[in-house]
């Protein structure tokens, strides 16, 4: 019915991207990634201990996954660029999710610093996926700067509040020609499904899966919800009316 998602020259067969923080163990995280048949996985470079024999998170990510290191902990573009370069040097590939946060209370991204880092890293040949507050004009600038996708938040990280930024993301989906991927805040499979019905290219989920009582089955539920939402988007949803259609219309007499 449609071609697979393509980002940075790679074909991606699963539109559920998964974050790796917050799991109760690496073996459990691995089970989740396998159950969800994850294709793209984001890892905070700050948590990667490449020198460790037993504690290296990268050893628990299935080999067929694209690893997307993220710059968690960066407070400005300089720190994000430094972390991205370290990630590349450590052999984690050339994908990078830029995360620049100056606000530890709400964890909302700094769009201007994110744009600066995107400009630098895209020029250096990174496949750049910036995490951002949904804003059309910044998204357009990120496209010009060479971003491979844009990742607006649904609601604050870890809040599980769902797609509260729906109207702004909708505008981005209509106007931005590169993949729009909702990242952060999705709390339930129905939230993910909604994003996909809206035409988002993918979603990224971490907390809602990691802290579920049964993360493996929650990951399966998210995967199926993403597929259902994508299919519904491709078919085209019937238009939704705000009110019921009155069975006794006020202008019915005109047809009598």
């Amino acid at each position: 019915m449609e071609g697979a998602l393509n980002i940075g020259g790679k074909v991606i067969n699963n539109r559920l991207f998964i974050g790796t923080g917050k799991f109760s163990s690496y073996p459990l995280m691995k089970e989740v990634l396998e159950a969800a048949e994850a294709a793209v996985v984001t890892v905070a470079l700050r948590r990667v201990d490449a020198g460790s024999k037993t504690e290296n998170i990268l050893d628990y990510i299935p080999r067929n996954c694209i690893i997307m290191p993220n710059t968690s902990g960066a407070r400005n573009s300089d720190e994000a660029v430094r972390i991205a370069r370290l990630a590349k040097a450590s052999g984690a590939g050339n994908w990078i999710k830029i995360e620049v946060i100056q606000d530890n209370k709400y964890l909302l991204p700094d769009n201007l610093e994110t744009l600066k880092a995107t400009e630098i890293l895209a020029k250096e040949g990174f496949v750049v996926l910036p995490y951002m507050s949904p804003d059309l004009s910044i998204a357009k600038r990120l496209v010009s700067a060479g971003a491979a996708a844009v990742m607006p938040l649904g609601s604050p990280i870890g809040s599980n509040r769902g797609i509260k930024t729906k109207e702004l993301v909708n505008i981005m989906v209509s106007e931005i020609k590169i993949p729009v991927i909702v990242d952060a805040g999705l709390g339930s499979p129905s939230d993910a499904c909604k994003c996909m019905e809206m035409g988002c290219a993918a979603v990224l989920v971490n907390t809602a899966i990691a802290i579920a009582d049964d993360p493996v089955n929650m990951a399966r539920a998210f995967k199926e919800a993403v597929q259902a939402g994508r299919l519904a988007y491709l078919v085209g949803l019937s238009s939704i009316k705000d009110y019921a259609s009155a069975s006794s219309p006020l202008t019915g007499f005109l047809r009598e």
Binding site: S24, S25, L45, D49, S52, G73, L86, K105, G158, I211
Partner: protein
């Protein structure tokens, strides 16, 4: 003034919320508070606990703090690690897998000057991803120096926010300057410190007064320095050398109320649990809001390396949880938590 009224009102509401959470009446709702604290902690931090270990560089001290084993009046053997000994300790700690270390010194600019601390930092930087310091209060430019040497975290406890109690328990020494210590976190944050950990020493004063001040202090720092990570510790007085009697007993139930109240009041702050508490109690507190704990602790200077450990050495305080890093990791795994040994670059 008129324009400030909504702001003042908001501040009052926040203060009232904290007061309610730590009130005697709230003791009737501890289970509900615990459930809410757990929900907030899971959403914000997940099922992970960050581990670190303290490294005592020196116990020379010019302060006479009534509650402390390193009190200058206590006749305990004094020791300062040489750089070779620092390297040995670092290599040992690093072999346990830990990548976060907290260095500590007594308050003596003569015996452990900033230049000595910086020399130690240069050695430690080779072994660890994150360096934190719990040392005497510095000036702003001194904090900038240690930040440039790779220190990303500072731990500095006010011990008590009550100026009268503070003056009484800090009998003499540089630490007697209440305001210089109170403003230390801000000086460090202005110098680019990423992580700031503040605390009170429970037992010195009525805990409700202290936790109220601690919560507001943490909130003030979080609001003023939004890019920093603010954390709190709530060490409880333990027996130590000397004859200090603990003036205000704090029960386990009180500790539960303190942790859950702080978590609900400030959902994003880090909360550290020290080895002063017993293994069993530490495990029970885990789900209530704890985000960091120490492991493989020794409060003796050079305590990890047997060859220069003397039986007569007295620690700063008694470690109640003496488990090794491996044992703590196994306990966390069994409780459904992932130990995070590295969380910075």
């Amino acid at each position: 003034m008129k324009g400030n009224v909504p702001y003042l009102r908001k501040g009052m509401q926040e203060q009232k919320q904290l007061l309610e959470l730590i009130s005697p009446q709230a003791e009737n709702y501890l289970e509900e508070m615990a459930q809410e604290a757990r929900r907030l902690t899971l959403g914000n931090f997940g099922k992970v606990i960050q581990l670190y270990t303290p490294l005592y560089l020196s116990n020379y001290c010019e302060n006479q703090c009534a509650y402390c084993g390193f009190n200058s009046k206590n006749e305990v053997p004094r020791k300062k690690l040489t750089l070779e000994e620092v390297e040995k300790e670092a290599a040992f700690i690093s072999s346990t897998g830990l990548r976060h270390i907290l260095i500590l010194t007594g308050d003596s600019r003569e015996m452990s000057p900033l230049s000595y601390i910086i020399d130690c930092l240069k050695v430690l930087r080779k072994y660890f991803s994150s360096l934190s310091a719990e040392i005497y209060a510095l000036t702003e430019s001194e904090y900038a120096r240690i930040v440039s040497e790779g220190v990303d975290g500072l731990t500095i406890y006010q011990e008590t926010y009550d100026e009268g109690v503070y003056d009484k328990v800090h009998v003499s020494g540089p630490k007697k300057d209440y305001l210089f210590r109170l403003n230390a976190p801000e000086r460090a944050l202005k110098s680019g410190m990423r992580n700031m950990n503040i605390g009170v020493l429970l037992g010195l004063n009525d805990w409700r007064r202290e936790v109220f001040s601690l919560g507001l202090h943490a909130k003030y720092l979080q609001d003023k320095f939004p890019d920093a990570e603010i954390g709190v510790s709530i060490p409880r007085l333990r027996p130590h050398a000397g004859d200090f009697k603990i003036p205000f007993a704090v029960t386990n139930k009180n500790i539960v109320q303190i942790i859950t109240a702080l978590r609900i009041f400030l959902p994003r702050i880090g909360i550290t649990l020290s080895t002063r508490e017993s293994p069993e109690f530490r495990e029970n507190l885990l789900p209530l809001g704890i985000t960091r704990m120490s492991a493989g602790s020794s409060t003796r200077v050079g305590g990890r390396i047997a060859e220069y450990h003397e039986e007569s050495d007295l620690p700063q305080f008694e470690v109640s949880d003496t488990r090794s890093v491996q044992e703590i990791k196994a306990m966390l795994a069994q409780k459904g938590y992932q130990p995070v040994l590295k969380d910075w670059i």
